[in-house]
């Protein structure tokens, strides 16, 4: 079949076609050409645009669906994945009650301020040394008990004016906010877990004695391009909860 190139381009000239198609689609999404929730062209149409067969487009889309980048719905179409409540709960939140159930915690914002990035912030978020960041402190309840003391650090450049007037109104699921208000989609994240002792601030926030062992989670959230967009430090009381990690 002749390549038509009626609009879209294959990024590289090397490698399998389906990889190039996949990367072409990712690029389009990352650049905001197709935004979260939008329907992509049909497989046939994409095949025509990329100049490949429908089966090749299908393989590319199947991989993107496996990576939670698109959602496919039979009879309806293929859509750019959105950050739903379910996604937050099942994909990005890993604390279970001892009985194995899971709830998304309610959050109370303690403070929301701006400051210059610390050395660690700048390194993790790949910011210039003098960049400014937004710092959100909040406490999250599980089973109506304070369970997580959380610090969220964001590059101000990406999230201008976030939480400025009504810090208290920040939603519980921040990733939805990032996506809807700022067009920033968190695609993946890396978490570093440690056991630490509660300090005075933790003690106050969580109502546990200083020195209590807490599970510290340092999460770096990344966009589709692999650019870091959020640094989050959570200190969790695991007296009645545990962090679940599935290996398969």
């Amino acid at each position: 079949m002749a390549r038509m190139h009626t609009g879209l381009r294959l990024t590289a000239a090397t490698g399998p076609l389906y990889v190039r198609v996949r990367e072409g689609i990712v690029k389009r999404i990352a650049e905001g050409h197709w935004v979260a929730g939008h329907m992509l062209p049909s497989e046939i149409r994409l095949g025509q645009e990329f100049g490949v067969s429908q089966g090749t487009v299908r393989k590319a889309l199947d991989e993107l669906a496996a990576a939670n980048i698109v959602v496919r719905r039979q009879g309806k179409g293929t859509f750019v994945a959105t950050h739903t409540h379910e996604r937050a709960l099942f994909h990005f939140f890993h604390l279970n009650r001892d009985d194995g159930t899971r709830e998304l915690p309610e959050s109370r914002v303690l403070s929301c301020r701006r400051r210059r990035a610390s050395r660690l912030d700048a390194a993790r978020l790949r910011l210039p040394a003098d960049a400014r960041v937004i710092v959100i402190e909040r406490v999250r309840d599980l089973m109506a008990q304070p369970a997580i003391a959380e610090t969220v650090i964001l590059p101000e450049a990406r999230f201008p004016g976030l939480g400025k007037p009504h810090a208290r109104d920040l939603p519980n699921t921040l990733y939805q906010l990032y996506q809807e208000r700022y067009g920033v989609t968190v695609a993946r994240a890396v978490e570093h877990l440690r056991a630490v002792a509660a300090d005075a601030a933790d003690s106050r926030a969580l109502g546990v004695p200083v020195g209590t062992p807490l599970l510290e989670i340092e999460r770096l959230a990344l966009t589709l391009d692999g650019a870091p967009v959020e640094l989050r430090l959570s200190r969790c009381d695991t007296a009645e909860h545990y962090y679940e990690s599935v290996i398969e």
Copy 2:
């Protein structure tokens, strides 16, 4: 194409063919018909045996490869996955040094004894209340420092005589041993993480003060069938290491 049924059976009469082929292959592996490391028949041959086309077998095998159940090597064939050193390090071990590198710890066995399963053991391992278990205590070093105090609990029925004469000679990577000596392949695992305070035994094993926050990992390892075969409790000093969890 006519279904041939020259030996293999499709398990269910419902659902897509590739799912039935996939489950048929899993069943064969789980039953020991094809053992770890063995080469499977070619796609063409499997297609003939299952009475489906090569493309359908391919889809089944691709999913099994994605699940680390088989390994595909171009030009050579498709093989039942084995527990290699690499697999242990990259797939089943999650403690990194602070600089991001990873090493598989050396292990020193402290004790290896037999006892009746506790209530918790029996519940987790789905054993009858009076079942007997093998209990291995060991200390694992990272950067030449004791870093993990580990208790491994195994149903004696599945691992007869394990560690009987030479407990000290137990290898570092147990999953290889389970696979090679007992035909038990660990396919997946679920880990529950908590922060706990070091008790007297931890303090002795790891050389840290009583009360030091430790990362406790309770891992339940499962076979292909989803049957639990090992319960492992690791208490980790995370002063110079962290547990890495990737979300994507």
